[in-house]
Amino acid sequence: MTPSTRGFREMKAAVVRFAGDSGDGMQIVGERFSDTSVTVPNAIATFPDYPAEIRAPIGTIAGVSAFQVHFGSQAVLTPGDEPDALVAMNPAALAVHLYDLVEGGLLIVNSAAFTPENLAMAGFSTNPLDDPALKKKYDVMAIDISGLAVESLKESSLTMRDKLRTKNFFALGFTYWVYGRPLEPTIEYINNKWAVKAPDLAEANIRVLKAGYFLGETTEVTRNRYMVARAEVEPGTYRKISGNEAIALGLIAGAKKAGRDLLFSGYPITPASSILEALAGFKHFGIKTVQAEDEIAAIGVAIGASFAGQIGVTGTSGPGMCLKSEFIGLAISTELPLVIVNVQRGGPSTGLPTKTEQSDLLEAFYGRHGESPLPIVAANSPSDCFRAAYEAVRIALTFSTPVILLSDGYLANGSEPWKIPSEDSLREIHKPFADPSQPYVAFARDPETLARTQAIPGQPGLEHRLGGLEKDTKGSISYDSANHEEMTRLRAAKVEAVAKIIPPLHVTGENKGKLLVLGWGGTHGAITSAVQSLVAEGFEVSSTNLRYLNPMPSDLGELIKGFDQVLIPELNSGQLSLLIRAKFLVDAISMTKIQGRPFKVSEIRERILQLITA
């Protein structure tokens, strides 16, 4: 099935969004389309967008689930702004997602689902497919997907219900035809999944997948198809990875490199649960996982493991962070290594559990009582979650400190190809234990890192007590006022010392100029895409991304000084902006979005253009 390029329109990149009811299998077909595209190879980035309800009533707006994939022949740094093609399996999916589709974009709908009942549930008083304006604005393909799927299975012994459930593969097959993608990877996937335990199902899904593809071939010969050429990808071995998977692997890699056992303790919470789930599958690496009774217990267990000489890690999302804050204070006071992963979601309170936001930055900095600084690392793409998690472990052990690792719902669920690093390319992690032949002083410090040396229960002669009461510079309890100030400053100085091991900032564009776009975390892809495109068009604009937020990289101040203006786009109401203004006394311009969705590249481009062409 190698399509010739005849009849194809070349595109550098395309964005396809699959949308349907949450029981329609949209996440599955989205994943299939992505996995097929990486074999072409294309560069890809994906964005699943699903409801908080596991199964909202069928056909309702609340039950719409979507998966967007962006694939291209050049670097792809975001899952894309507006889709070029939208697959809508029912009226509710159309109602939710049509506004995003580019004008003239391809709209594939399952006409069978446009019943009066479904239309009413989606809030349509008339059938939008009958509206001539729709056909004028978009390239509409109304296909009886349900009917054709069932028709192609008339020989099959499956129940009608099971036959209807194959319709997502029909839609996928047709979409493959439109974009000239091979069917083989999907057939292999179906066989791996069902051939043994349910051969009927495997056969039916393959038949329906092909039926969707052949529909295009036989009936749509005159239709425009789209071709995204092979991408020039840096040589190497790749895998597709999501943010939460990458965090799990980065944590394990850090512990393995440091020669410490890893204990991860968590409490289920969206969108962080899959980190605990992933790690529970790595027990043969010596990983111990504990599903604790609550968020507080989860961090307590992790601190206990760190006290016992391992590396304790806990992971959660916003509401869980609030619950953990007292224990984070204890880890700061006792100066134990610990990693706390916060996969941010929309807040406050239960907020938007399945939607993304970057609104916990100030909480990471200041969300505890007392003077309680700690290092903060933020991942900037799904695959960067590996490096960020590894760095969090490295800092925690090297400096004997709790570290907050910030991710977000967008990074957690999104996935992209990851060029697999070699073990040797991972930086060494040294964390010396106390020498049992020397008298032990629990809070004696390494002069370079200011880290205290840890003694481990079981080491003879080093028995000591830790606790949250203020201690003197040796570790004995002290309520002395001058000592409290000295210890407060020492703890802060230790966090500042982390700057010594932070690599220099990577700048897109020149190191000086009119405008620096400064971002942190998951906005990296959108900012970099916008800036790269503008640089290519000759505009004087640069950008950088802060992976290390506390302490900030020591070259950041100098970089900021080299620009006339600084723009800080964030998915919150201006938290980094507040910090940068305070720290560098610069009149930074804040760009905010608080809609539970990532920035579009076009939004950032427009804002930059407004500023540099003003």
Binding site: K288, V290, H464
Partner: protein
């Protein structure tokens, strides 16, 4: 994985002194905590465990200052959360002997949730819950074990809260070892601590403890020489449930409820025989529920049954996974199950 400490190493002549720290003990003069500290310092040297393998973990409150006074590894954590830290320590290193020190407020109010889960998981640690029925460190507010009507600064009209019975709480969580001892009986405390230590699984020990400042006389009926023989029921495995100055009173079952009878005229077999390993929790509940004014207060080991420990199951799963899949390698970690190569 060694989850049970077998082949005890030789511990050359540890004594009480080895467990005393140089810190000044700062409890109020006359506090029951002194006697508990002393008893534990006398117990630990006799357990055949090197000092460095003891870890004492506490929450917040008067009792929770305990680790500072024990020359072992120790962790004074945060209010109510000692069971969670202890879980991390024990899962990380099952060879350690972990002791949790908590109080009625720390363990049953703010930390009730963690205590519940620690007990049901059967982590092989010992919980010493000092019950003085009052908040001491915050200067005398009523606690979750204070009787209804207790007048304190926060309850000038008397407490309206129905108190919790620590033993019933532990039984509700299906703790595998439940005992009670009393701070004015060092010998009984030491014996109870040893029995708790020997139990493989979670050991819950309620220590009736007197707060001389804010709740003095809380345990007077069972403290005073005049009344204690009539108010205390000393439990011994295999022995009948007898009490009184000359053991003249006994407990028998009347249907599903216990009653006190004259033991001197009881028929053979009429008095209940103490069976801490009784398979039915109903028996443990019968004992745990007894108390003033109708019944004596039982002390000793109420329940001791066997169940696999949490940390041994955690480690077994790790070992099983290694046996089945081999120890994980860098290549497996980084490459996963599906990769592609770009030339």
């Amino acid at each position: 994985m060694a989850t049970e400490i077998q082949n005890l190493p030789d511990v050359p002549g540890l004594t009480r002194k080895d467990f005393v720290t140089s810190n000044d003990v700062r409890w109020c003069p006359g506090c029951g905590d002194y006697a508990i500290l002393n008893s534990l310092q006398r117990t630990l040297p006799e357990l055949g465990i090197p000092r460095e393998n003891f870890v004492i973990i506490s929450g917040i409150g008067c009792s929770s200052r305990f680790p500072y006074y024990m020359n072992t590894y120790g962790f004074h954590t945060i209010h109510g959360r000692a069971p969670t830290v202890a879980t991390g320590v024990k899962v990380a290193n099952p060879d350690l002997s972990v002791w949790i020190v908590t109080g009625d407020g720390d363990g049953l109010s703010i930390g009730g949730n963690h205590l519940l889960h620690l007990l049901r998981r059967n982590l092989n640690v010992t919980v010493l819950l000092f019950n003085n029925r009052i908040y001491g460190l915050t200067k005398g507010q009523y606690s979750p074990t204070s009787p209804e009507g207790t007048k304190t600064k926060t309850t000038p009209g008397g407490s309206i809260d129905h108190p919790i019975n620590p033993l019933l709480f532990a039984l509700g969580a299906e703790a595998t070892f439940i005992a009670r001892t009393i701070d004015n009986n060092p010998k009984h405390m030491t014996e109870t601590f040893k029995a708790a230590h020997e139990h493989q699984g979670v050991s819950f020990v309620e220590i009736l403890q007197n707060c001389v400042i804010f709740n003095d006389a809380a345990w007077d009926p069972i403290y005073s020489k005049e009344t204690r023989d009539h108010q205390l029921l000393r439990l011994e495995a295999g022995k009948p449930l007898l009490f009184g100055k000359t053991l003249e009173k006994g407990i028998r079952l009347n249907g599903l409820v216990p009653e006190v009878i004259d033991a001197t005229t009881a028929a053979p077999g009429e008095i209940l025989i103490h069976q801490p390993d009784h398979s039915s929790p109903l028996y443990s509940q019968l004992l745990a529920s007894m108390g003033l004014p109708d019944f004596p207060t039982p002390i000793g080991v109420i329940r001791s049954i066997q169940r696999p420990t949490y940390e041994s199951l955690v480690h077994r799963q790790v070992e099983d996974a290694k046996a089945k899949r081999g120890s994980g390698t860098w290549k497996e970690l980084l490459h996963g199950s599906s990769t592609w190569t770009v030339e």
